[in-house]
């Protein structure tokens, strides 16, 4: 909000505003997504993560970087605490076994590796395994 006001009243150097606008517009050019869709994506990303852990919403930051032919998305999400848990209470990490890693690896083939952690926590549970594995690549 303060940033917005500063910008509105010209307190931020206009060159910085220009650069920020450029970054956002090029990102949407490259991804073929409208700027407000990207904002919605960021919002949903934070929302999903905060379902599992408590995050420092004020200091969350998502940046996009052009790498050769691809755009990479980087999220910097400070975690305040691990007290928040997903609806079904997770089983202590000690119960991991090698035997259960097979379906997880299969799932990560169509997404990136990042959701692995969450998936692991969820794995030892009896039922929700297939759904979680299927849905997990989405938040990345």
């Amino acid at each position: 909000m303060i940033e917005f006001l500063n910008r509105l009243f010209g307190r931020e150097p206009s060159s910085r505003t220009a650069k920020e606008r450029l970054k956002l517009v090029l990102l949407s050019d490259h991804l073929s997504l409208a700027p407000d869709v990207i904002e919605a994506l960021k919002h949903d990303l934070f929302e999903v993560i905060s379902r599992y852990v408590e995050i420092d919403a004020a200091n969350c930051d998502v940046t996009f970087e052009q790498r050769e032919k691809q755009v990479a998305m980087m999220a910097n999400i400070p975690i305040l605490g691990m007290q928040k848990r997903p609806a079904p209470p997770p089983v202590p990490p000690a119960s991991h076994t090698n035997g259960s890693s097979k379906p997880a690896r299969k799932a990560s083939a169509n997404g990136s590796g990042t959701p692995r952690r969450r998936r692991r926590k969820a794995q030892p549970q009896s039922m929700p395994q297939p759904q979680l594995a299927q849905g997990s690549p989405q938040p990345t």
Binding site: P13, S14, S15, R16, A18, K19, R21, L22, K23, V25, L26, D29, Q66
Partner: protein, 279 residues
Amino acid sequence: MINQVVQDEVPVAGDVPRVRGRAIVVTSGKGGVGKTTTTANLGTALAALGASVVLVDADVGLRNLDIVLGLEARVRHHVLDVLEGVVTLDEALVTDKRVPKLRLLAAAQTREKDDVDTAAFRDLIGTLRDRFDYVLIDCPAGIEKGFVNAIAGADEAIVVCTPEVAAVRDADRVVGLLGDDRKVELIVNRLRPALVRKGKMLSVDDVNDILHLPLLGVIADAPDVIVSTNRGQPVALDPASEVGESYRAIARRITGQDSAAPEIPREKTFLGKLFGGRS
């Protein structure tokens, strides 16, 4: 390192291998950012260094290069006359008497970009590469047919960009369209160092944080450019002009004679302003 002279050798009839010239398109996407001014001045500076240079105006329908060079009165024929076999290439080339190693192939003013056949234009550039050390192509604004024709025969590109949001965005688009097979370098044009210092203009770093291109040079926004264009005397010919020197430095970087990092124009001092002005 980036600016090493890259030349491929092509066997010519009589099997004496001859070094082929470089075909460089000067492009930008956005209009009015300085493509024609850059082409004219780099061509002049390269020819002044002793290289044989031909400038090709690919802006069919809106020809300007002859005006900026001050050669408009001597243009009799144009690219399309050559492509359509009305005149020979040599009949259409205009020699610049100030720098005799410089030739101009003008665009047709009363025709349209769609009248130019892409393959024929590419072949023409190929022919010119066999005869000149440098073929500089002045690309029209936009990304339509005129752009496609202009880049067709070029194996290198200079992207001209001003420190403005729209220019950088369009430059980014053009870089994508130029593809991976061409060497692409950046010239930032019309920089105003005083505005950059005050945070009122994107800096060269700001621009290149976004474009990520090898920086060939930076040209200040300078009245000299406008004055020299009024006169039809490329500023690169003016030994006393600072922007003229910027163009000459870029030319040396293109030939590989200068490998130092490009200089960023600095703010003029009060005294410099007093004595440096021209009108």
